[in-house]
């Protein structure tokens, strides 16, 4: 079926058809449906948020309901990097390396304040001010730490994002772009800071529009 035939129907109509026993889908929808329901995270905990991540995979919150209970110890088998906790400067090169080792398509969730921006520890000399300075982040989950439910909500948001991806054209995700090489430069330890302190291809400081405080 051509790819854009299915979107001509509304969701309600499609639900009605499904109820009547007619499964109407497009290749991309089927493909994305399959991918979004088997997102395997990397078994990778950094700090406090990792405990909530473990809690989310335990009986009470049961991340298996979303198809993501298979925490892979090896980055080669993982689809999702949950950066769960503070990324220190000493740890940042390793995180980027793990990200580079993951095969495309891959996604990154920044879980918790520290992973997003350095959070409460952002004033520290050894704390990276957000993992998005080195690798692209798909979903940001604020909270310190986010409740397991918040992580599940983030995962649902990621699934929504995956389902919305196109298979071709300029809007296609990173891994389907022809000139994509999925490696990101790994920062080196410098004498005072990481070299370079950010990856300009991934992160640019936005322009502050607020007037300065007197």
């Amino acid at each position: 079926m051509p790819e854009d035939a299915a979107p001509a129907l509304t969701t309600a109509e499609r639900d009605e058809l499904r109820r009547q026993g007619i499964l109407l889908t497009s290749i991309s929808e089927l493909y994305n449906w399959g991918r979004s329901n088997s997102v395997w995270p990397l078994n990778f905990g950094l700090a406090c948020c990792a405990i909530e991540m473990i809690a989310a995979s335990m009986a009470r919150f049961d991340i298996a309901r979303f198809g993501s209970e298979v925490f892979r110890p090896s980055p080669r088998q993982a689809d999702l990097l949950i950066v769960s906790g503070t990324v220190t400067k000493k740890m940042a090169p390793q995180v980027v390396r793990l990200w580079n080792q993951m095969p495309e398509p891959k996604y990154c969730i920044a879980m918790g304040a520290c992973a997003i921006s350095g959070g409460p520890f952002k004033q520290g000399y050894n704390v990276l001010k957000g993992i998005d300075r080195f690798i692209p982040v798909d979903i940001y989950i604020p909270g310190c730490p986010p409740r397991p439910e918040a992580l599940l909500h983030g995962l649902v948001e990621l699934q929504k994002k995956i389902r919305g991806e196109k298979l071709s054209g300029p809007g296609a995700p990173r891994h389907l772009q022809p000139d994509n090489d999925c490696t990101y430069p790994v920062p080196e330890f410098g004498e005072h800071d990481l070299e370079p302190p950010r990856n300009p291809a991934v992160w640019q400081p936005p322009i502050l529009t607020r007037p300065d405080k007197a």
Binding site: I51, P73, T88, P120
Partner: protein, 389 residues
């Protein structure tokens, strides 16, 4: 080859065998971590192996060095309290208490009786979830994937519900204040805590039926990672790791801080100092904690929960210094504060039990295999937030 330091310090060298230079070609250096599923976070061990036997092990720290001490010197006394939650993030209540105790020593505040009872209740609940969670993780390390950890987290969620109902947050409670506690217990909370505590021995029985007599578990842990009491004391070990070697040192008895002298409980001590003893000590300690909790919930007095002298903002203790310590779930957690009379501490130092307990990791692991090193590390009970701060 064995860079194990000076001659004067006692080393448990029984299981160490000398490695001569001509063997160098046979040795293999392996870097375990910082991303390794069994290192309990971002811990890294540089392991030198002869075949599968460890001949050298150097821990590498700092992958979670979040500059707690620098931040503590740049923020007010009150502002450091939520940061202490994030030290040992499984035991925020005991961290809070240790910090509050140090500041109370510095500023001369005395918490009222009810507040002391509340602190004991929360600290013992923390011990329950820490020890049960630790045993779950230890089993994960032995290869018993999932089940015990899942049972432990099932109980942990019940305690976290109590913490959330009281303090508002599951893990990062930020509950203790200098001179007391933030909010009072409601009768409904006390009732649900009592129900939980009364049901907890049943869970412990089940947990023990699952694990204690398990032959595989015994084979994996008995005699593994033996530690002598002399080395344990000299290396500054505290908590269950020290008590497993047969040294009956528990700050709840020794320092008698808070109102612990009023409570009737025993301090379990081990005989062999091996991994199995470290497991058993924790099970027994949980049973004693249940005893303390039952007494505390029974005798909880009425009254205020804050020292009337205490104020929330603008604490400026007199110049001086103080070291306050309590028996946390992992060992002696202490805070050393130097005040120069300003709103921020001049020096804010955390004495992290799991960091110092790692001093002997190499001695414990020498002569064992990599698979054993994983269990030994698990039985020491580290949390990286506290190791690296």
């Amino acid at each position: 080859m064995l860079a194990s330091g000076s001659a004067a310090a006692p080393f448990s060298s029984a299981s160490v065998r000398p490695v001569h230079d001509e063997f160098h070609g046979d040795l293999l250096e392996v870097s375990m971590g910082p991303h390794h599923p069994s290192t309990h976070g971002v811990f890294r061990m540089m392991v030198t192996l002869d075949g599968e036997t460890i001949v050298r092990l150097k821990p590498v720290f700092g992958y979670l060095h979040r500059n707690h001490e620098k931040l503590g010197e740049n923020t007010t006394y009150l502002g450091s309290m939520p940061y202490t939650d994030r030290l040992d993030y499984l035991c925020s209540m005991t961290n809070n208490w240790a910090y509050a105790l140090a500041v109370e020593k510095l500023a001369g505040l005395v918490p009222p009786e009810r507040a002391e009872y509340i602190r004991i209740i929360l600290a013992e609940l923390t011990r329950l979830i820490n020890h049960s969670g630790l045993i779950g993780f230890l089993m994960q390390d032995t290869g018993c994937s999932g089940t015990p950890l899942m049972y432990a987290f099932r109980e942990r969620e019940k305690v976290l519900d109590l913490f959330e109902a009281l303090s508002g947050s599951r893990m990062m409670c930020n509950y203790q204040r200098f001179g007391g506690c933030r909010v009072d217990l409601t009768p409904a909370w006390v009732d649900s805590a009592r129900r939980l505590v009364d049901a907890f021995p049943r869970f412990l029985d089940e947990f023990e039926a699952l694990l204690t007599g398990n032959e595989i578990f015994m084979a994996r842990t008995q005699g593994v990672g033996r530690l002598s009491p002399e080395l344990a004391v000299n290396a500054g070990l505290t908590g269950p790791v020290l008590r497993a070697t047969g040294v009956g040192h528990d700050l709840r008895k020794v320092d008698a801080y808070g109102l612990y002298p009023r409570f009737d409980f025993r301090v379990p001590i081990g005989a062999h100092g091996d991994t199995y003893d470290r497991y058993m000590i924790r099970v027994l300690e949980m049973r004693e904690s249940v005893q303390i909790l039952q007494q505390a919930l029974r005798d909880l007095p009425a009254g205020p929960i804050m020292d009337p002298k205490a104020k929330l903002r603008g604490l400026r203790p007199k110049a001086g210094e103080a070291y306050g310590r309590i028996e946390g779930a992992k060992g002696e957690i202490g805070f050393f504060l130097i005040s120069d009379g300003s709103p921020n501490p001049y020096r804010y130092r955390i004495r992290p039990p799991s960091f110092i307990n790692l001093t002997v990791l190499e001695d414990l692991c020498l002569g064992h295999t990599v698979a054993d090193a994983v269990i030994i590390l698990g039985s020491i009970d580290i949390v990286l937030g506290e190791v690296d701060r």
